[in-house]
């Protein structure tokens, strides 16, 4: 991480180097810092996020959806959901952005060695979990069974379809897809259930012994998934959640992202369920 405090508070100039539409409202942006040296040194952990500035729009926290690459290109999977993200979606390759970060704690993958990992993603929650999954697969031997359960609203909203096809073909992990509403259009090459993610979870039998579950999705998802997970035998300290809050600084100053006495930006965004389950309004 960058240790110069002055630079850290300043968004560094970056550009969009590639852009791929994933669904009607979500695109994958490849972004690289202008300064090649800084770009190569931009190292981060899965689960961390950056503060992304879109000039004239503002700054928003966005998860790093990839793992560090040699040339320092990072991938951001962003949904058009408001002011800043709408502006981002009008930008094209070459457009100027600003980047601060990486921020947040990231997933404690070091603790998970030899364990089975169950990833549960709802909708856009796939963004940080994609980074995590890439990491797990890259260091495949260090972990036990790996499974990704991914739920989307409808087939057309499934993000990273091509990648899902590839993942589905892999033998060293399990992929379960589900959509809330089926439609005529079936995603090419994908085997897909219909129903909500918690329901899918109930149907799939998964060893809970020596397993961690990692959840990321919209606010409503957490509560039901956690009930399911606990029901099937997960203990509170083997459930990890990546939370979303409003953030104005990303570094523990603006106070918008407080969850009880924790800050989503500096203590999170990844929390062990044990640590937040007593907190009102955490989920």
């Amino acid at each position: 991480m960058n240790s110069n405090p002055v630079i850290k508070s300043l968004p560094l100039p970056a550009k969009i180097t590639g852009l791929r539409q994933l669904s009607t409202d979500t695109s994958l942006f490849s972004v690289r810092l202008d300064d090649g040296e800084a770009a190569r040194q931009f190292i981060f952990e899965p689960g961390q996020f950056i503060q992304l500035s879109v000039p004239a729009g503002g700054e928003v926290p966005i998860s790093l959806a990839s793992t560090p690459t040699d040339n320092g290109t990072i991938e951001l999977c962003v949904r058009r959901s408001g002011h800043v993200t709408s502006l981002l979606h009008t930008q094209e390759v070459g457009a100027r952005l600003g980047i601060r970060g990486p921020y947040g704690n990231g997933f404690p993958v070091g603790e998970w060695k030899k364990k089975n990992v169950l990833l549960l993603a709802g909708g856009l929650g796939i963004a940080p979990l994609r980074s995590l999954l890439h990491h797990l697969l890259r260091h495949r031997v260090e972990f036990g069974d790996i499974a990704l359960m991914y739920g989307a609203r409808e087939p057309s909203a499934i993000l990273f379809k091509e990648e899902m096809v590839e993942l589905g073909n892999r033998t060293d992990m399990h992929l379960f897809l589900t959509v809330d509403f089926a439609s005529n259009e079936s995603p090419a090459g994908l085997i897909c259930n219909t129903g909500l993610l918690p329901t899918l979870l109930k149907e799939v039998n998964f060893a809970t012994e020596n397993t961690v579950a990692v959840v990321c999705g919209p606010p409503a998802l957490y509560r039901c998934v956690i009930v399911e997970l606990q029901g099937s035998g997960f203990s509170c300290d083997s459930i990890f959640l990546s939370l979303e809050r409003r953030m104005k600084c990303g570094v523990g100053l603006c106070c918008h992202c407080a969850v009880g006495d924790l800050f989503c930006c500096t203590d999170g965004p990844v929390f062990r369920y044990t640590d937040i389950k007593g907190i009102r309004e955490a989920l």
């Binding site: 590639g18 852009l19 791929r20 539409q21 009607t24 409202d25 695109s27 004239a56 729009g57 503002g58 058009r80 408001g82 002011h83 709408s86 502006l87 979606h89 009008t90 094209e92 390759v93 070459g94």
Partner: protein, 277 residues
């Protein structure tokens, strides 16, 4: 409805999804319209009052329909963004509004009348017909007019700039943001907040005066209390105004319910006096 935010950019169609080539967007010169319904022209005048920026504005935008400032009379569009002031109170108003709505990509309710009803609507609890007769005599009872109403009662509104008159700064911020294809974010707290930040004497607490600051949308930098005059509420209700608590407070200070309501209605006739959130 306060700020009905909409996303200016419709869904990209799927085959343009992958754009590898750096296509430079043609320099965008949005077409704007400025029009007025039942109002005092203050909102349109606010545009003309941007003296320093006017030359730049005429370069950045194509001013397509602006009877107050341009002779061209066309209304057929297409218009990128229409700023329309005033309440809707006659069939002509409604016709113009519908016409502009149907030819404009974005419609901005410009000013308090367009957004909340404004001064013309303060007596909407009385019969329009008898008011007309009171002013123009019995023979005018047939005048085609109805209770002044905000746009949302008739059409979809994409964005709003409140104020009687609106703040220049908010108009300019909206125009600047529109060049980028978005609408700006304005704060959503009450006038009191800005008033306190300016270290004003609180007229409500210190002078026991009937200041509406706690209920009213900020953005004017507390103009009135700063010059020692109570906030008359010209910017309309702030989100989640605690109307019931303010009402109680003012009653305790000795104002009559009648006077409080009369003053509160000046720019917005539809307060829910029970509202706390």
């Amino acid at each position: 409805m306060n700020r009905n935010k909409s996303h200016l950019h419709g869904c990209k169609d799927s085959n343009t999804g992958t754009t590898g080539s750096p296509v430079k967007a043609p320099s965008y010169r949005p077409v704007i319209a400025m029009a007025g319904l039942t109002a005092c022209s203050g909102c349109q005048l606010t545009f003309l009052n941007c003296e320093t920026e006017l030359p730049e504005l005429t370069r950045r935008f194509t001013i397509y329909y602006f009877p107050m400032g341009v002779t061209a009379r066309a209304t057929c569009g297409p218009i990128d963004i229409a700023f329309v002031e005033g309440a809707v109170s006659t069939p002509d108003d409604l016709e113009l509004l519908l016409k502009i709505r149907s030819t404009s990509r974005f419609l901005v309710a410009f000013g308090t009348c367009a957004l909340w009803g404004g001064v013309a609507a303060m007596n909407n609890n009385e019969s329009r017909k008898s008011m007309v007769e009171a002013v123009y005599g019995k023979s005018a009872g047939g005048m085609k007019t109805f209770n002044p109403q905000p746009f949302v009662n008739f059409v979809k509104v994409d964005f709003a700039i409140t104020g009687c008159p609106p703040e220049k700064s908010e108009l300019l911020a909206t125009l600047a943001a529109f060049l980028k294809g978005i609408f700006p974010v304005f704060p959503r707290y009450p006038v009191c907040t800005e008033c306190r930040n300016r270290e004003n004497r609180c007229l409500l607490i210190e002078d026991n005066d009937i200041c509406l600051g706690p209920l009213i949308q900020a953005g004017c930098n507390a103009r009135c209390p700063t010059v020692g005059i109570i906030c008359e509420g010209c910017r309309g209700p702030v989100a989640e105004a605690n109307v019931a608590a303010e009402l109680k407070l003012l009653l305790e200070k000795g104002f009559t319910r009648e006077e409080i309501e009369r003053r509160m209605r000046r720019f917005y006739p539809e307060w829910d006096y029970e509202q706390r959130y």
